[in-house]
Symmetry: C2
DNA sequence: GAAATAATTGAACGTTCGTTTTATTAATGC
DNA sequence: GCATTAATAAAACGAACGTTCAATTATTTC
């Protein structure tokens, strides 16, 4: 037996990426074997090596694409001008939407960093740093103009990112809350956390509608 | 070769626990081999099985002790009475102190859950649930008495825990910030996040001193 | 000081791992 | 329709894995 009828390189590679993302997210990189992955794709293990020279190459590819997609998603929002509050709002919305939609690759990119070689780890961390820098810039602007009231830009950025990314730990689509509802609540928490002034000292604006899925 | 001079079961078991915590936190459970662990302890791999019947038993032991210690630490604060703000403040302080001190076992208990058998996973998750319930109770009391102003008790609890536990990702003792400084900043962020009223509508109290290590 | 027990070694077991090699067949270009 | 290339299967590689077992020595008990 050899080449099978209807076999197509592009389709196979896409299937490998997809299956690998799901398997590694569920069982972890070390606990996922190439044979298990191959079985999921419906192919022999040796066939995987036509697309990814090593297991680590596959992991790195998944992570790199995830980080680049994250930066691209934020860059595509065109929300880099305007008030700090507006920009922060856009950042939160984009972050939560992206991470919920890409729960599996987010899990991988956050949990499997130790399985990368030092050079590749550095490469991924550089992209992550660039992303976090975007948030710090917003917070710094807000702190300087008085739109926000916070102690430490770096700590606040980390706290916000951990808080927002943490959504993927418990959020399951179609359960109690909708994406829009979660985003709205997290947006309100974010604005309070950074001590955002609501313009002309209005009382806090809370919109409770649409919180349920 | 057999029993070595000065060998002591209790000491060996403690050494195994310690080495396992560090190794698994650094390289992950699946990537840590029994031989590697044995070498770190200074013993042959077979000796480990005198203390832990399987590798998973070892992992479970580490996790169970971590969760029980976490609950015990909170229970030992005797801060279960008083105003919601005071209780929340105690909770944040205890949570951050505990997690910084036990970074390694926290990492394990958060990241290696998938390596547990279903029954043991349930057991650990039950303890985690009990801990989170403590926070929700504080938030609910605060929301009902008007001390806090928040949208959703459950979501706020998850956001706070993710935010606080996230400290272990970037915090390194002896670097820019002290534990006290981090705790103070996180306490301020927490209080703003839950919309805590500062009693008689005082302006926000910010204490910037002692933030540096 | 002999007997019982505690602690550990060293070797081995079967299995699974990531990966390589070789052969074979499907699709493509001329 | 023949040669070439793309895609895969099948089998094998050595290494490492978790774990077991028998033998051996230190310590404790009486």
């Amino acid at each position: 037996m050899a080449r099978t009828t209807g076999s197509d390189g592009e389709k196979t590679e896409a299937a490998i990426r997809e299956a690998a993302t799901a398997l590694i997210a569920h069982h972890g990189y070390e606990a996922t074997s190439m044979r298990q992955l191959a079985a999921e794709v419906g192919v022999q293990a040796a066939a995987l090596y036509r697309y990814f020279p090593t297991k680590e190459d596959l992991l790195f590819t998944l992570m790199l694409e995830h980080m680049e997609a994250l930066l691209a998603a934020w860059g595509g929002t065109h929300a880099h001008a305007g008030s700090p509050a507006a920009r922060l709002s856009a950042f939160v919305g984009n972050h939560i939407a992206f991470h919920i939609e890409r729960r599996h690759s987010t899990h991988i990119s956050n949990m499997e960093l130790r399985s990368l070689s030092p050079e590749r780890l550095t490469r991924i961390l550089k992209l992550r740093g660039a992303y976090e820098k975007e948030l710090r810039a917003i917070l710094r602007d807000g702190a300087e103009t008085g739109a926000f009231d916070l102690d430490d830009v770096g700590l606040t950025a980390m706290a916000l990112i951990q808080m927002m990314t943490g959504v993927i730990v418990w959020f399951r689509p179609g359960e109690r809350l909708s994406v829009a509802g979660v985003t709205e609540t997290y947006l309100a928490m974010t604005m309070r956390l950074v001590g955002a002034t609501t313009g002309r000292e209005e009382p806090h604006v809370h919109q409770h509608a649409e919180l349920r899925a």
